[in-house]
Symmetry: C2
Subunit: 242 residues, 2 copies
DNA sequence: ATATGTATTATTATATTACTAAATGGAGCA
DNA sequence: TGCTCCATTTAGTAATATAATAATACATAT
């Protein structure tokens, strides 16, 4: 402490982010007592108050609980607010297991087809246009490029917005993480990009036409296709965090 | 301050809960500047530090952001971590609009049928038994009673657990809120309870049999039935919070 | 004159320190 | 076994200093 030459803004957020990602990425075991407030304080050379604020933020996300004499403990995973924007982001730092990828797909296959159906029913013209636009940008970019990835994301998120249902819209962070995770597990050039584009186009066409049923079906196919391209868990070495 | 005769544990959590529910229930408008730290401090007669911790918790949930000179502001709804356990609970205090009820159903109809399908595929015997048990308790209770409600909830949550997918499991808070909200909008005795029980039984049977397809279908019917019993938005007076 | 850029200032959150109180787990003892 | 006491660690308060920001006033240039 007392190294006050430069101002570091939002110390509590920085600390929260650091500890939070460590927890999410398994650096600390569930149930384990973390370092005490005082220890964190010296580790990050921040005041204890800042550390406390950081811990409060993590407890608001269900990651930790703290009690006198018991210390700060990692909560069981079930208590984590797993759809929290930050938690989903932090989780991207680690390499996901095949199990996690499967879990993502299992939820996507529930949510996204229905989202496409709702988009077909309730989507506003400009929202549908945004989906078309994203598809256009997918066409204009190289497969597996940064831009293609971003356009793909916009495509899926655009559909969520077109549902005009706030729960679906909020799942955009989930979808973002799902796509990121997927990328890391797809064998390069597993499918022809043209095929992928065609599949996506079928979805937009159905939405455009207001055909709920077809929108659902084509989206379901899209996702099942993507899942089938996943790397099998060849060995899938579970990198256990030391 | 200085009223230290009795100890109130977890002040920051209490304050956070109070301000949080006010925000969620529309007492403070989005974008509006809340009272300052100092003002909250006197309002709740807590120290400014405690208030700060409370605010940090709310900002961790995406409800507020705070900056020097700008004060504490309510974030746009889109930023709220709407699947957060606390936010969902706090939201139950207010009377939901028909729109919200619809939004709940639109997501339920995506998630729960797929969940039933996964439960049929992957559910462990004891997990399936728990679902049966919940159904049994539904049978033993009066329609619309407290216990029936609780058994119904256990039924749906039991299915989530049987998916053995952590994302689905975490949606239990969402489902809990959805069911609560639904109750408030169903006309009493709209359908025969026997019919409801039969619909539920069809779902468990399919899960028990490991019949993915039938599990999905029967759950979809269950939810669509429930939705059809909703009160039409007769007038649906939007009670604007004063 | 109007627009644009630059200080000044007041306000409000941010951060630190030091101290007190309460809760808890465990050790020691009857 | 159950009770008491103790040490530890979080919970809470208070006082103070610092940094970020919005608004205002002022100056400059076009």
């Amino acid at each position: 402490m007392s190294d006050r030459n430069e101002y570091k803004s939002n110390i509590s957020q920085q600390v929260s982010k650091k500890i939070g990602s460590d927890i999410v990425n398994g650096v600390y075991q569930v149930g384990q007592a973390l370092p005490t407030e005082a220890e964190f304080s010296t580790e990050f050379n921040a005041s204890r108050t800042s550390v406390r604020e950081a811990i409060k933020m993590l407890s608001a996300k269900g990651l930790v609980s703290s009690k006198p004499r018991r210390g700060i403990r990692v909560m069981p995973e079930e208590a984590w607010n797993i759809f929290d924007t930050d938690i989903l982001t932090w989780a991207l730092k680690g390499k996901p297991s095949f199990r996690v990828v499967t879990e993502f797909f299992q939820l996507r296959v529930a949510v996204e087809p229905e989202a496409a159906g709702l988009a077909a029913q309730f989507g506003l013209p400009e929202q549908k246009a945004a989906i078309w636009d994203a598809l256009g940008r997918m066409r204009d970019t190289e497969d597996k490029s940064e831009d293609a990835m971003s356009a793909d994301l916009d495509f899926h998120i655009g559909i969520l917005y077109a549902t005009r249902n706030r729960f679906y819209i909020h799942l955009k962070d989930f979808i973002r993480s799902a796509l990121n995770v997927t990328i890391q597990h797809t064998t390069p050039a597993a499918a022809s990009y043209d095929e992928v584009l065609a599949t996506h186009e079928r979805v937009v066409r159905a939405i455009e036409a207001g055909d709920t049923q077809r929108a659902r079906m084509s989206m379901r196919l899209l996702i099942e296709d993507a899942y089938s391209l996943m790397k099998e868990p060849d060995v899938d070495i579970e990198v256990t965090a030391s």
